[in-house]
């Protein structure tokens, strides 16, 4: 289990402008790789149900894209997040985001949603796929795969077909 990247003090402090000069941000948004931030709420069942999907896709792209989990709930402690990672068998680096710096950077409002960066630029934000139609109603299997499409496009140096498709799940609380 890789828990090393979990920062236990709130937050990798960086803003869109200052990103280049901040250690954490430099680590997060590397220029030579596609970066995916996955936003999760521990108390959101839809977020949690995506665990195997997120693990599979991050594994498939592990040599070409960096994946991070982001926990934007202000009240999450480092221990809460650690426990969640081990419960759900995640071996991806994770960051708390109590100030919602990353959520704002990724234009994300709902969990689970992803923000895909290519060359430090946000190229896609929104749902992973169309599994859920609304809370309580899910398809037997998804019919669209926005995250995968965005990754393939970004890796091919193209713009994804859609830059934004809102997700179904739980709003990030107190997001201004």
């Amino acid at each position: 289990m890789t828990l090393a990247a979990l920062v236990s003090v709130p937050a990798p402090v960086f803003s869109q402008q200052g990103a280049d000069h901040d250690g954490n941000a430099a680590r997060l948004l590397s220029p030579d790789k596609v970066v995916v931030m996955v936003f999760l709420r521990r108390d959101c069942p839809i977020s949690s149900r995506y665990a195997p999907v997120i693990q599979k896709i991050s594994k498939t792209y592990s040599d070409r894209a960096k994946f991070f989990l982001v926990f934007p709930d202000k009240t999450d402690s480092a221990e809460d997040i650690q426990k969640y990672l081990s419960d759900y068998h995640y071996s991806l680096p994770a960051f708390p985001d109590p100030e919602h710096t990353l959520a704002k950077l990724g234009h994300v409002q709902i969990t689970p949603e992803v923000a895909v960066f290519s060359d430090r630029r946000l190229v896609y934000d929104g749902r992973i796929d169309d599994w859920y139609i609304e809370p309580g109603r899910a398809r037997a299997a998804p019919t669209t795969h926005e995250l995968k499409d965005a990754l393939d496009a970004a890796l091919a140096g193209k713009a994804p077909a859609r830059a934004e498709v809102r997700g179904v799940g739980c709003y990030i609380s107190d997001l201004e």
């Binding site: 139609i133 309580g136 109603r137």
Partner: protein, 592 residues
């Protein structure tokens, strides 16, 4: 004049003041959450987070506004109607509007003085300590992957005599992962054969439990999130006999991580035997289900006329993922039409048994109708096939179903004419045969019904139709053979019994019946062979031992006969044939 004027102004000022008062959690929202959300949104219950305090609600404020506006929460599918359901969970529009305003205004907390007392819930078993607690022998390991799981747990009931059950509390395991659960009563241990190893349980969304006797003792034993155990009304109770299994049929959803589900059930007994005997009427029309891909409004109907007066107590509609608009209504003999249930947006995940607050009297001659529509287009996001494909009736989750169960209690009947449920069951069986003359089960069930009423010739006719539809079906051939033997035609019966055994060589009943048929033709050698084979399948059956003894005695093999009679009496000291024949041996065949 002036006074009146002043009063009017006063009133309108007061109204305006109230309207402009900001909506607060403590005064306006807490009462709604406590009444309509907390039963599920509290620790240990089905919902993913609690809604008991201001900070709980604040954290989810926007989501709460969304799910109440769309009526996804609280989960409640039926439209409001004249016949009221118990425990209705529907929010009033005023409450929904208040929640929207609360969130728009910034989800304020308000004055703590306004906060009502939090709801009190019973911890642990809801009705106190059960008389008997049964726990699934082997827990199920639930996969974290996307698909839902349908699993059946078997609970053998360790009782030594018939008991009456007043209530059952289902504890389905971690409630967050159980959509719903349903108990079926298996009096024949048939389900155990489906387990890979004893106690393991078995998969499957829809299970059928076959019963060899007319067994209408029918109760809807259902669990969904937020339910408190149902206590049977005065005079009603569920009968449990020695050797009965309870099957818990569960619909489980993945959580994203591996989960272990180990349900238990608590039984509450009553010394009072049931005096009121309800039954389940099933309307259905699965044969009409052949839905072409792309069809948006595929309609299926069924209509049944009640042959006796009944009180309708509860209703349970069921369809799978294509089900859209689900309706049932009753047309009374005087022409009045009552909506029994209407679900405009069916959602299998929130299926439920709905009980009426007052039993609904439906007089003899009432037509009960179901009217379901199905959407097999790609506009139905729950369509299990993308792109849509032809879907027919069946038990798998990607097949469809069109079922409606009604729990009814016959009323105003003449007990001297027998159990009124027989009349209901027979009418239903006839209805099914008429609706669908090619339906094997319809003929089989009608035959069984007629046989139970001792209408042997009519029963044989229906069994023959069933066998014509499925010439190799073991159960139908066995039943037809047995009915022919009972009607005094052992020669004709034996042929069908042999067919049954060809299809299922380890069929205890067919060996037993064939033994009987052969004995009826004085072939005692053949008969004793069949009874011996039956004994190998069920070694502790006193009746078979007695029959084997009799067949052997007929052939003059008295010492063997004697030991079988004795064995029969060991198993059941009251086995009449063994007693009588043993006595006869003693008297007439010295030296016994």
């Amino acid at each position: 004049m002036i006074r009146i004027h002043w009063l009017v102004i006063g009133v309108s000022v007061a109204l305006a003041a109230q309207d402009s008062k900001p909506v607060t959690f403590n005064r306006d929202i807490a009462p709604i959450m406590f009444r309509s959300c907390a039963m599920c949104h509290r620790p240990g219950e089905a919902a993913p987070f609690s809604l008991l305090t201001y900070s709980d609600a604040k954290k989810h404020a926007r989501q709460i506004a969304d799910v109440t506006r769309s009526r996804a929460m609280p989960p409640w599918l039926p439209e409001p109607q004249q016949l009221k359901f118990a425990d209705e969970m529907r929010l009033a529009q005023a409450g929904i509007d208040l929640i929207q305003r609360w969130v728009e205004q910034g989800a304020l907390e308000g004055d703590t003085k306004d906060l009502p007392a939090p709801p009190k819930f019973v911890e642990g078993w809801q009705l106190g300590k059960p008389d008997l607690v049964l726990t699934a022998k082997k827990p199920l390991e639930l996969s974290p992957q996307r698909t839902d799981t349908y699993w059946n747990f078997i609970f053998p009931v360790p009782i030594t005599e018939t008991r009456w059950v007043k209530a059952i509390e289902i504890r389905p395991g971690d409630k967050r992962y159980v959509h719903h659960a349903n108990i079926l009563v298996d009096r024949s241990s048939a389900s155990r054969k489906r387990e890979a190893e004893p106690g393991a349980g078995f998969g499957g969304m829809e299970i059928r439990i076959e019963s060899q006797v007319f067994d209408p003792d029918s109760h809807l034993l259902f669990w969904k999130p937020g339910t408190v155990p149902y206590v049977e009304p005065e005079g009603m109770a569920l009968r449990l006999d020695k050797g009965t299994d309870l099957i818990l049929n569960t619909h489980l959803q993945p959580s994203g991580k591996p989960e272990v589900i180990q349900p238990s059930i608590g039984l509450y007994f009553t010394p009072q035997a049931a005096t009121k005997l309800p039954m389940l009427l099933q309307l259905e029309n699965d044969v009409q289900l052949d839905i072409p891909p792309g069809r948006k409004d595929f309609l299926v109907t069924d209509e049944f006329t009640l042959p006796v007066d009944v009180d309708l107590m509860a209703i349970y509609p069921h369809a799978h993922y294509l089900g859209k608009d689900i309706q049932a209504f009753a047309t009374l003999p005087d022409g009045t039409k009552k909506t029994l249930i209407h679900i405009p947006h069916w959602n299998l995940n929130w299926q439920a048994v709905y009980r009426y607050t007052q039993p609904v009297r439906l007089p003899k001659g009432t037509k009960v109708s179901l009217r379901y529509t199905y959407d097999n287009s790609d506009e139905n996001p729950l369509n299990p096939n993308q792109p849509p494909a032809r879907v027919v009736g069946g038990n798998r989750s990607r097949d469809e179903m069109c079922h409606l169960w009604l729990q009814v209690l016959p009323v105003n009947f003449d007990a001297a004419l027998g159990d009124p449920r027989m009349a209901l069951q027979e009418a239903l069986a006839r209805h099914n045969v008429e609706k669908n003359p090619g339906d094997f089960e319809a003929h089989y069930n009608l035959a069984a019904m007629l046989q139970a009423k001792d209408k042997l010739d009519a029963a044989i006719g229906e069994y023959e139709l069933a066998v014509r539809l499925r010439p190799e079906d073991a159960a139908a051939n066995n039943a037809l053979g047995a009915a022919l033997v009972a009607a005094g035609h052992p020669d004709r019966g034996a042929g069908y019994l042999r067919t049954a055994l060809k299809a299922r060589p380890d069929y205890f009943d067919a060996h037993y019946n064939l033994g009987f048929a052969l004995a009826g033709q004085d072939d005692f050698e053949g008969a004793s062979q069949q009874f011996t084979l039956a004994l190998q399948l069920q070694p502790d059956d006193a009746n078979v031992e007695a029959n084997l003894g009799t067949a052997l005695a007929q052939m003059g093999r008295f010492p063997e006969a004697k030991s079988h009679f004795e064995r029969a009496l060991q198993i059941d000291p009251n086995q009449a044939i063994a007693k009588e024949n043993l006595e006869a041996l003693r008297k007439e065949v010295s030296p016994y």
